[in-house]
């Protein structure tokens, strides 16, 4: 257990290093027993932790946070339980290559305010599965719920004979201390899920880091889509936890031929279309024009609350605010990421124009993250996908839950979504246990027969070009 005041950063990392050394002795069975115990402890407290998170942060909906905790425990556990993460994990006798999994070492886990307890549970499970000690660094606005999640996981881990200090947490978070731990030479990895500032700091620390990128998810309802289904799925996704998932839809693009039907279905489901004046008022409360980013005060708030803040009159059962916009970019602030139930809306004359709009939205702050399409035309799904720069292109799926994985598709369930180099990340994958291993490869001598029979002195003959050498090298007797 950690008391994280200034100057103790080194001590915390030192304890984690000792835990790593002890952890390294455990076999797969012992490791899996610990993971099982921690999964059960986290899952069994899913409701209490969700309520704590909603109360402490003032963001989102506790019932939806329960589902996030379920994904972070049950779904993640299901996904990793049978994965080999200790010792020899693969043997290819034909190629003579044997893979050995080694833990990385102490991991610093940065936890965002938007998904606090679920991210703690998720990161602890994948760290323990790979025998890596973990240090939880919560958002300042979610310290109590995060430390409670970490504490109960630690208790369960110790009960299953995990090494002491395999889970630590910072109870008093300061930027200086986080900075100090990030830069500690014995820290192995930073799992950085959070705002761009923190992720950038993690990357700049010199410690290897797995980070995330910002999202700005366009969802395209193409002419062949099942409209009521598509709209229902978008409502499920965009209103989930009041839109706090970074993979939630940020702009809806529809083809003109189906726009009327889409609008009817949206209105049926308590989505309210804003007038230009109302859009401007919502923009004023949802967008921080100085910081040029969403206003933190409306993140995870309900549509009704945001309308109230904006001075816009809406029915009390309103679930989503639709903002028809004339363009994409700085002149249209609501075309940027807003983690709340506010959705930009565009009608495009045809497929080509719609895809062009989606390209604009994708490149307006969401490169590498997630895009979404509703369509029953395979060729158009393919054409759309080839034009996007996104780690996840979710099809006929609510994008929040679809990108996180495990519920609507077979992506690895994860609360850390890689966004590739476009999002300044090293992977486009959903980060999971396999990313927390150093894989060693024993490679046996296997003769390259073509090289064996080839007269290597031919390489010194400058008159032989690539084609001539290839012909001789690949000659089939």
């Amino acid at each position: 257990m950690s008391e994280a005041s200034s100057g103790l950063a080194g001590e915390i990392v030192d304890r984690a290093v000792t835990a790593a050394a002890v952890f390294g002795q455990l076999d797969q069975e012992q490791t899996d027993r610990i993971v099982r115990a921690v999964y059960e402890a986290g899952f069994n407290q899913r409701v209490r932790l969700a309520r704590m998170a909603a109360e402490e942060t003032g963001l989102g909906i506790w019932q939806d946070k329960v589902i996030k905790n379920v994904v972070a425990t049950q779904f993640v556990y299901d996904d990793i339980r049978d994965v080999k993460t200790v010792g020899i994990i693969a043997e290819d006798h034909e190629r003579g290559i044997v893979e050995i999994a080694q833990p990385m070492g102490p991991i610093l886990a940065i936890i965002p305010v938007t998904n606090p307890t679920s991210t703690v549970l998720f990161k602890i499970l994948i760290a323990l599965k790979t025998r890596n000690p973990i240090i939880i660094c919560p958002s300042k606005k979610a310290i109590r719920c995060c430390t409670e999640a970490a504490r109960l996981c630690y208790e369960a881990a110790l009960g299953a004979d995990a090494p002491e200090d395999c889970i630590q947490w910072l109870e008093q978070v300061s930027r200086e201390q986080t900075h100090e731990i990030m830069h500690h030479p014995k820290l192995a990895l930073i799992l950085a899920t959070g705002g761009s500032g923190l992720v950038h700091e993690a990357y700049s620390s010199g410690t290897p880091a797995l980070g995330v990128g910002a999202g700005n998810v366009p969802v395209f309802i193409e002419a062949s889509a099942d409209i009521p289904f598509a709209v229902e799925q978008i409502m499920i996704s965009k209103t989930f936890d009041n839109g706090t998932i970074c993979a939630s839809e940020q702009a809806l693009v529809v083809e003109a031929s189906v726009a009327a039907a889409v609008e009817t279905e949206l209105k049926k489901r308590q989505a309210v279309f804003l007038s230009p004046e109302e859009t401007a008022r919502v923009e004023a409360v949802a967008w921080d024009s100085e910081k040029k980013s969403m206003n933190a005060g409306i993140v995870g708030q309900s549509a009704v609350r945001i309308a109230e803040l904006a001075g816009v009159s809406v029915p009390g059962d309103t679930r989503l605010l639709m903002a028809p916009l004339g363009g994409v970019g700085a002149a249209w602030p609501l075309s940027s990421e807003i983690l709340a139930p506010v959705l930009a809306y565009y009608v495009a004359p045809d497929f080509r124009a719609a895809v062009n709009l989606c390209i604009d939205l994708n490149y307006h702050g969401g490169v590498g993250h997630t895009v979404s399409i509703f369509s029953n035309d395979e060729e158009n799904i393919r054409r759309f996908s080839l034009m996007m720069n996104a780690g996840r292109i979710v099809v006929n799926t609510p994008s929040s839950q679809g990108a996180v994985g495990g519920i609507y598709n077979k992506l690895n369930p994860s609360l850390t979504l890689g966004c590739g180099t476009g999002g300044k990340n090293i992977t486009t994958e959903n980060v999971t246990a396999r990313h927390l291993l150093n894989i060693q490869r024993i490679t046996r001598r296997r003769t390259n027969e073509r090289f064996q029979r080839f007269d290597a002195r031919r390489y010194y003959d400058e008159s032989l070009d690539a084609c001539a050498i290839e012909a001789e090298f690949n000659r089939n007797f």
Partner: protein, 97 residues
């Protein structure tokens, strides 16, 4: 080859499908000369275009400088071509739709 038309005081240049280096070299001088003579806003109609080369992007930048920021735009871009401008970071400078 390029087709020229005057529409609403604009010079509309309808471009062929493949704008590779060889093609651009063939008509570049003629195009720039025509633009110079017309002294009108220029529109590149890209409806038929499915491939653009670096040479074409250079021509766009040259036209942009020659006629001025507000007097040059590209229209009817396919998603494939639009993506090239997007990745190259030129969509912020060149007006396109």
């Amino acid at each position: 080859m390029i087709q020229f038309a005057k529409e609403a005081d604009q010079l509309v240049c309808t471009l062929p499908a493949r704008l590779d280096t060889t093609a651009c070299t063939t008509w570049q001088d003629g195009l720039l000369k025509r633009i110079e003579e017309e002294k009108a806003p220029v529109v590149f109609d890209m409806a038929k275009v499915d491939y653009i080369s670096s040479a074409f992007i250079r021509i766009c930048l040259q036209v942009f400088k020659q006629v001025g920021e507000d007097r040059f735009r590209l229209i009817n871009l396919s998603p494939d071509v639009k993506k090239v401008f997007k990745i190259a970071g030129l969509d912020e400078h060149l007006a396109m739709s």
